[in-house]
């Protein structure tokens, strides 16, 4: 049985994804040339994944709770379109972003809340509710976005889509981040030692912090060679960190895992299952709103078909990252890696000028391969076990119950 050291589980999926990423990076580097590892390429990679990785992070929590949200792409576009319309002086009232953005985010949250209520209190399966939502919200977007409203320039929202973090600020931010990490680790170490639990020793702790600081500094340096860290990347990183903490460290997050793992046991353990389900859909709605605002900023306005298929990218990223569609399993870090895999494939193919139809074929194949190989490695189907037996002439290993994921 694999035992996590001090609560950090190095799981098979994470390792295999890092391997897949490394292989793809090397492959594209050979195909594309020097440009591939340039600051510009890295900055753009991190930028292009933002909107659907934010969706994927929320989706991870929804799937962990044993549900699914197919409406997030349409939800994103509703928020983007209504924000754009509110800010547009020609077709809308021309409000400032300070007014329009909070209202648009509330719209996203409210729609998520509504869907969650239908799922939790009316017992309509989330697949049905959100499949309906996918169509309904798309329809509403088409009406709101009738004239494809643009967002007037010079707005802080637009800078979210186009500007970069100033070079010095970026270093300050990572310094602050590493400091925060240090404080968290030290407090956790002190608490564990107080209760006689094993914990990191000081050299290991320093090592971790040093490596984290070095990797981050290197990334920033690289991106600063170009224009710096894109603002939207920062939004994504904040969302990912917040959701990671929610999922691992809060009672709410733990309740979601419990509900997805076994709803009846969760209910008997005193968890208000319905409320949590409503809350996770509302959170998803809010995050779809955040992704919508970022998307709108990127596009300086909205279109009728904005965010189409994003629900599928989000689900794909979560699943590649190890989230179980059965509920109860999944991590935000895994989803981040899943998003990175997707982004790498998409961007890499753009650089290699692969035809559009083929790009879709490759995207789909990567999804099936990445998830399929992982599942097959853990729990080989019968024919694979037989084949293995024939090839190796020995008793094939059986999946041990201890290593189910």
């Amino acid at each position: 049985m694999k035992e996590p050291r001090f609560g950090i589980r190095v799981n098979f999926r994470v390792m295999s994804m890092i391997l897949i990423l490394a292989v793809m990076w090397i492959f594209f580097r050979l195909q594309v040339g020097d440009f591939y590892f340039s600051g510009e390429s890295i900055a753009k990679l991190s930028r292009d994944m933002v909107s659907w990785t934010i969706l994927a992070a929320g989706m991870t929590l929804v799937i962990i709770s044993g549900n699914i949200d197919l409406s997030v792409g349409s939800l994103l576009s509703v928020v983007a379109a209504s924000a754009a319309l509110m800010m547009n002086p020609e077709y809308g009232p021309g409000w400032s972003a300070n007014v329009a953005v909070p209202i648009a985010l509330s719209i996203g949250t409210a729609l998520g809340l509504l869907q969650g209520t239908l799922v939790a209190y009316f017992r309509i399966p989330s697949f049905i509710v959100t499949l309906g939502g996918l169509f309904i919200f798309r329809g509403i977007t088409q009406k709101i976005s009738e004239f494809d409203p643009r967002v007037p320039a010079g707005n802080w929202v637009v800078s979210l889509g186009f500007d970069y973090v100033p070079h010095e600020t970026a270093y300050l931010v990572i310094a602050a981040f590493v400091l925060l990490l240090a404080v968290v680790l030290i407090i956790s170490r002190r608490n564990r030692l107080q209760m006689n639990l094993p914990s990191w020793n000081i050299p290991a702790l320093t090592g971790i912090l040093f490596v984290a600081a070095a990797v981050l500094a290197l990334l920033v340096m690289k991106m600063n060679e170009y224009k710096g860290i894109p603002n939207q990347t920062v939004v994504m990183v904040i969302v990912l960190i917040v959701l990671h903490v929610i999922s691992k460290q809060t009672t709410f997050g733990r309740h979601l895992y419990a509900i997805g793992g076994n709803t009846e046991a969760a209910r008997i353990s005193g968890i208000k299952v319905e409320r949590k389900v409503v809350a996770v859909f509302a959170l998803m709605g809010f995050l779809a709103g955040v992704a919508g605002i970022v998307w709108m900023a990127q596009n300086q306005g909205s279109t009728k078909n904005g965010g189409q298929y994003y629900e599928l990218y989000a689900i794909a990223a979560a699943i590649i990252g190890g989230t179980s569609l059965m509920g109860g399993r999944g991590t935000i870090f895994g989803t981040f890696l899943g998003g990175l895999v997707m982004a790498t494939v998409i961007q890499g193919m753009d650089y290699t000028n692969l035809e559009n139809w083929l790009q879709l074929v490759v995207r789909g194949s990567v999804l099936v391969l990445a998830v399929g190989l992982d599942i097959m490695a853990k729990n080989p189907p019968l024919w694979a076990r037989r084949l293995q037996h024939k090839v190796w002439k020995q008793s094939p290993p059986t999946p041990s119950t201890a290593e189910k994921h």
């Binding site: 046991a265 005193g270 019968l382 037989r386 094939p396 201890a402």
Partner: protein, 505 residues
């Protein structure tokens, strides 16, 4: 008698755990052979290897004299080995006949299923077994005992020589067990070899010729059932002499009433509950006995806020309370160990730690943030107190044996320090050792002033632990017995017929 199955130094490990360690023994043709041992002893693993579901790491298995390697369940079936598992492996929405022939349906031209032959042949098989079950009934409409019988019908329908039964009586009542046993005896008389895996010693003495005892993955002994007794077998299973601690009479008549139900009715539960009144005093163990389906669990679920009461009132420590949800019940100091640990008690895919802390995460958190070290600490202390055997508190609960899983369920409710504890079948399907540990735990809790309401189908357990016994039948209480006047007979009388045996109170 010829030896039909021989195990020769069979070993199997799961990761770091050795499940079987060089087990050798043999099963004779035409006997009923019991394989017994505590949970985690390796019985089920060994049977799964024999059935081809798992593969051994080393050693040999001989069936009918020749060495065999089963890689798939189908391989074993072709050799005439069929297994009936504890949980039904059947399709609930299909008919009995469709289930019996599942995967081997008789086929007409063009691949249509020949339903006439299907039903007729099932009828024949059922008639042979003298079972009064219609082939066209949907499986979901049958009782769990009948489903068990259909599984046996399916297992022996196709030239089976060896039938493996893995705890077939875990979810059926005493009477149904009798029917099952008479069927098994008939089949055995016709020459079928039966391998019977069970915890229940009584059944082994009733049914089996020989018994093999396993302990911690090792072979201990094979004994002739006629030449041994329960005490000897238990000591072989546990590896030490177990003292049948007779509970000390602990009649607490004058302490304060912790939990009182006054005339409650529940209409929305699976089995409607009518006019139930009962009292549990501080430090008292009160049993709620009755047959499966008499409404015992439904009473417990109403107290715990899982069902709303439609009439009557619930009083906790003398105060009338309105419990709307399990959360309310927990806040009132009530803990509830549900009947089915897999579907209600635990989150099997999560760690011991996360399962234990789930009931009171708020107590471990500040502003919604969980204190990880307190949580780990809680899991470790609880595991130590209840002697939960695992590699660490991070181990997934589904990898534990039944007894250890049940201890995790107890741990998750006991750390809340309840004043009222409701236990629904706390020792179902667990081994002798864990059972006696849980029994002494319950007695100790009562000594420490916890009011215990114990629901159990096992009359010896009820008689051993309870200070007072209420008996239920058809959703209502048919009688109350003091410890002094209770016996298996008097309880069964109330449970089955609904009246006192003799005058009584």
């Amino acid at each position: 008698m010829a030896e039909i199955v021989q195990f020769d130094r069979v070993s199997k490990r799961f990761g770091g755990t050795i499940a079987l360690n060089g087990v050798s023994f043999s099963i004779r043709e035409g006997e009923v052979h019991a394989v017994i041992g505590e949970n985690g002893a390796g019985k089920s693993t060994l049977m799964k290897i024999l059935a081809g579901v798992l593969q051994k790491d080393s050693g040999k298995i001989f069936v009918g004299g020749s060495e065999t390697v089963f890689r798939l369940a189908g391989d074993a079936q072709r050799e005439g080995i069929s297994t009936v598992y504890q949980e039904p492996h059947l399709v609930p929405h299909m008919t009995v006949a469709e289930n019996v022939f599942l995967g081997r349906e008789p086929i007409k031209k063009l691949g249509w299923i020949d339903f006439n032959t299907l039903n007729a042949r099932t009828q024949e098989i059922l008639a042979q077994l003298e079972l009064a079950i219609s082939p066209t009934t949907t499986l979901a409409d049958l009782s769990s005992a009948d489903i068990q019988l259909v599984q046996i019908a399916r297992a022996i329908a196709f030239s089976t020589k060896i039938l493996i039964l893995d705890e077939p009586t875990a979810s059926i009542t005493g009477r149904e067990t009798e029917i099952l046993f008479s069927l098994l005896k008939k089949l055995n008389a016709k020459g079928l070899t039966i391998v019977y895996v069970s915890h229940r010693l009584k059944e082994i003495f009733e049914l089996c010729h020989r018994a093999t005892v396993l302990r911690d993955g090792k072979y201990v002994a094979t004994v002739d059932v006629e030449k041994t007794n329960e005490r000897e077998i238990i000591s072989m299973m546990v590896g030490r002499e177990v003292e049948e601690t007779l509970a000390v009479p602990n009649e607490k008549r004058n302490t304060a009433v912790s939990l009182e139900l006054r005339d409650i009715s529940v209409s929305e539960s699976a089995i409607p509950v009518r006019n139930v009144s009962l009292k549990v005093r501080k430090g008292e163990i009160v049993a709620l006995a009755g047959l499966v389906g008499s409404g015992r669990s439904d009473v417990a679920k109403a107290v715990f806020g899982l069902n709303r009461i439609s009439a009557g009132s619930i009083h906790v420590h003398g105060e009338r309370v309105n419990i709307k949800s399990p959360g309310d019940a927990i806040r009132r100091g009530i803990s509830f160990v549900p009947e089915d640990r897999k579907s209600e008690g635990l989150i099997p895919i999560q760690s011991i730690k996360h399962n234990i802390s789930l009931t009171g995460l708020k107590l471990l958190a500040r502003l919604g943030f969980i204190n990880g070290s307190s949580e780990t600490n809680l899991a470790r202390t609880s595991s130590a107190q209840l002697s939960i055997k695992s590699s660490s508190e991070e181990a997934e609960v589904s990898t534990l044996s039944g007894g250890n899983q049940q201890k995790v369920v107890l741990a998750k409710w006991l750390w809340l320090k309840p004043t009222i504890l409701i236990l629904d079948e706390p020792t179902r399907g667990i081994d002798v050792g864990a059972k006696s540990e849980i029994h002494s735990l319950i007695t100790n809790l009562a000594k420490n002033d916890v009011a215990v309401l114990l629901i159990s189908s096992e009359l010896p357990e009820v008689l051993r632990l309870a200070d007072r016994i209420y008996v239920m039948r058809d959703g209502t209480i048919t009688g109350e017995l003091q410890r002094s006047e209770a016996s298996q007979e008097s309880i069964m009388h109330l449970a089955a017929l609904g009246k006192q045996e003799t005058g009584g109170i």
